[in-house]
Amino acid sequence: MRILKILIAAMLLGAAPAWAQDLADISLSDPKQESQALALMDSIRCVVCQGQPISGSNAELAGDMRRIIRERIAAGDTPEAVRTMLISKYGDWVTFRPQLKPATLPLWIIPLLALLAGVWLVSRRLGWRQN
């Protein structure tokens, strides 16, 4: 980690755009933290592009979010804390995983109703009574 920070510091001093190469596009050295960060990035929606997760977007703001996510995870934050932070900035739109709350309940209730209705239809209309 320290080496990486020195590397970033060295880049910040360089002439090229300072945000060019850093945690936005470079894996964390701890594979467990990196996989946590990746899973989170897969479920955060890019706010400038249409319908892509930040893990699959070339937009600069998506890169900025990836950097902040990797930094926070490396600093020991849980992925959920980082998600909550981003929701506090951009609202529920930013997370591809809908938060469980009254307004999103239909997302789970509708499939459940469909399943129950299906089971009921099958048992009633088709009936597996012997002839």
Binding site: I26, F96, P98, Q99, L107, I110, R125, G127
Partner: protein, 648 residues
């Protein structure tokens, strides 16, 4: 001149569709049977005319006639020929014309080749087909004229660089042909409702259309997924993007329909449900078209849109679908229920297959549309993406796989549970072996990929079991088709689960001659060079990769393509395929002078995803050939019910 000829042909085709509809209505409503013989020729003429219109549109694109608005807006004289042709349907108006052209051809095919169906049912089917076509003609002629002229344009605006890809040139026609095939199934269903002719003969007439459409949808989805995988450059192959979902929904309904129509054809069961599904499958095709075309969804794949057109398509969609649903509600009660069956029987397995597929369809539909509904209700913006779909639809897909393994091993009507377990034994054993192997060597993997891999093992072996102890040379082609398609499901699921369980990812910033590890490979950056491409500038990294310390090194060249007109950079991933996976390397955009960003993935067995898709489509094709051949051969003999297959 060509454009005017095309427009004239389109008007005439529309007139023919109207005539076809009126004739059909006269015969069915007023009993003027003498007119009935005219319907089939009219359908053929309509197809020929719309075919001419579409050919004219291709011609103006090929000759780069910039006085046609559509060409000026979507093509460019310097474009390679193949993209000029593909440009014909790479836009709203052209794709709608393609849609109705395929619809016309489907109608002509029914008119010419359908001989098993009762004459009045065939007539009603052709009338329904004409009604659908008529709506699209009106839409084209009044709201999306592809032949509009403009003046003063010197050259065109070009085609989105992301769409300049050979695979993508043929992707929309494949999906559209699939959608239109569903419209044929819909017309059959409406025809059968009108004449109350729902039975095995009707099911056998409808089945090739469902199979054909389903094969095309399978190919379309598989190809679209691979396209996203290699062009978007981030290693993902399915994003649960609304446009992807729009193609998945008709596929799910078609898959359910394919299985229920088999019950209807073989056992004369599930009559009303099959009709319902046929309407539903076409509804989903139309809903998909509407969602993509109306612009109410935001997606990477979205086209430029006009809300008035969205309203028009919505109008068409509502008339057809609610009309069919109303007809269903009125007529379904007069259709006698089909044969019954027991809980442990092949029919029951197929019904559960239908139930699960339908619930998955509801999940995809709800997840795709609920954000829109919520926003129009109170302005709240939420996103529903991969985490939701994977968590809700994933487990159901796994359960579906278990029924998929068991279903073909069951007898029709009723079976003994104990005998079934015996037949399932090898499949269950292979699942147990997989579970043990994963526990021993798999490391920590998520719970869904784990059960996915186990289910794939069960289905992989179980799907082959219907061939067990059989004379393979005398096994009917459609049985082979089923076995191969089911095996393909196992292969595809194994690929998906393996990709999510074992993928290794490494994103690095390195200078020339530096080496980094990814999975079992060592990757060295040799250098980066710039060179001109056909109509873009190429930035290309040359990397050398080798497996292990003493493996033979091989070169890979991930590229960035910088287009100037319009300004856009696309990613060209370098992919090296091995029998057990793919090494996937892309060059990142923000590389500065001495260091370059490389994104590397090692994806074990990821190719199985699309290999499975190909197998599913192949199985479908064999089944289609087998069915058509048998249905033609059987036509001489009186078809009542198909011979019942007995599993070994």
């Amino acid at each position: 001149m060509i454009a005017e000829a095309g427009l004239a042909a389109l008007w005439l085709a529309a007139t023919m569709a109207l005539l076809q509809l009126v004739l059909g209505a006269l015969v069915l409503g007023r009993g003027q049977t003498s007119l009935g013989r005219a319907v089939a020729p009219v359908a053929v003429i309509q197809a020929a005319l719309v075919g001419i219109a579409f050919t004219c549109l291709i011609a103006v694109f090929v000759t780069s006639d910039m006085s046609v608005l559509l060409v000026a807006a979507n093509s460019h004289s310097a474009k390679p020929l193949i993209y000029k042709i593909a440009g014909t349907w790479g836009n709203h108006e052209g794709s709608m014309l393609l849609w109705v052209t395929i619809l016309g051809l489907a109608g002509a095919t029914i008119a010419l080749f359908e001989r098993t169906l009762r004459a009045d049912t065939k007539l009603a089917t052709l009338s329904a087909q004409a009604a659908i076509a008529l709506g699209f003609y009106v839409f084209l002629l009044f709201a999306s004229n592809p032949f509009t002229r403009i003046s003063g344009v010197i050259d065109g605006q070009g085609l989105n660089p992301l769409l300049q890809d050979p695979g993508l040139a043929f992707h929309p026609p494949t999906l559209y042909a699939g959608y239109v095939g569903m419209s044929a199934a819909f017309s059959f269903a409406v025809g059968a409702l009108i004449t109350r002719d729902v039975g095995p003969t009707f099911a056998r007439a409808m089945r090739p259309w469902i199979l054909g459409a389903w094969i095309l949808l399978t190919i379309g989805i598989t190809a679209g997924s691979y396209w996203a995988y290699y062009t978007l450059g981030w290693g993902g192959w399915w994003f649960w993007d609304p446009v992807e979902n729009a193609s998945l929904m008709p596929w799910l309904a078609a898959t359910a329909l394919l299985h229920s129509v088999t019950v209807l054809a073989t056992r004369d069961g599930l009559r009303t449900w099959t009709i319902m599904l046929a309407v539903l499958a076409f509804s989903m095709s139309m809903v998909g078209t509407f969602l993509v075309r109306s612009g109410i969804l935001t997606s990477v794949h979205s086209f430029a849109v006009d809300p008035r057109r969205g309203l028009f398509i919505l109008g068409l969609l509502s008339v057809y679908i609610t009309g069919a649903m109303a007809l269903f509600a009125i007529r379904a009660k007069t259709i006698a229920e089909g044969n019954r069956f027991e809980l442990v029987s092949r029919e029951a397995a197929l019904v559960i297959n239908n139930l699960i597929l339908t619930v998955i369809l509801v999940v995809v539909l709800a997840g795709t549309l609920y954000p829109l509904i919520l926003e129009s209700y109170n302005g709240d913006k939420i996103s529903v993406g991969a985490p939701y779909f994977n968590a809700v639809a994933g487990p159901m897909a796994v359960i579906l796989m278990l029924f998929l393994a068991a279903g073909p091993l069951m007898r029709w009507r009723s079976d003994r549970p104990k005998a079934l377990v015996e037949r399932m034994a090898p499949a269950l054993f292979s699942g147990a072996v997989m579970l043990l192997m994963l526990a021993a060597f798999g490391g920590t993997i998520g719970y869904l990929p784990l059960i996915g891999l186990v289910a794939a093992a069960v289905v992989g072996v179980g799907s082959l079991a219907p061939l067990w102890k059989r004379d393979l040379r005398r096994t009917p082609l459609f049985t082979w088709g089923m076995v191969i398609a089911h095996f393909g499901c196992a292969v595809s699921m194994a690929g998906m689960a393996s990709d999510s369980a074992f993928t290794k990812e490494n994103m690095v910033s390195i200078a020339a001659n530096e080496t980094r590890e990814i999975g079992p490979f060592a990757v060295t950056l040799l250098g980066v060079r710039e060179r001109p491409g056909p109509n873009y500038q190429i930035l290309e990294a040359v990397v050398s990769a080798s497996k292990g310390a003493d493996g033979t090194p091989f070169e890979m060249t991930p590229q960035l393509h910088a287009f100037s007109d319009p300004v856009m950079t696309t990613n060209q991933a370098a992919i090296k395929t091995f029998w057990n996976g793919q090494l996937y390397v892309t060059l990142g955009e923000n590389s500065d002078g001495s260091k370059f960003l490389l994104r590397m993935w090692w994806k074990p067995f990821v190719t199985f995803i699309w290999l499975g898709g190909i197998l599913i489509a192949l199985g479908g094709t064999l089944s289609l050939i087998g069915r058509v051949r048998r249905d033609i051969w059987k036509k001489q003999a009186e078809p009542t019910a198909e011979p019942i297959e007995v599993p070994a």
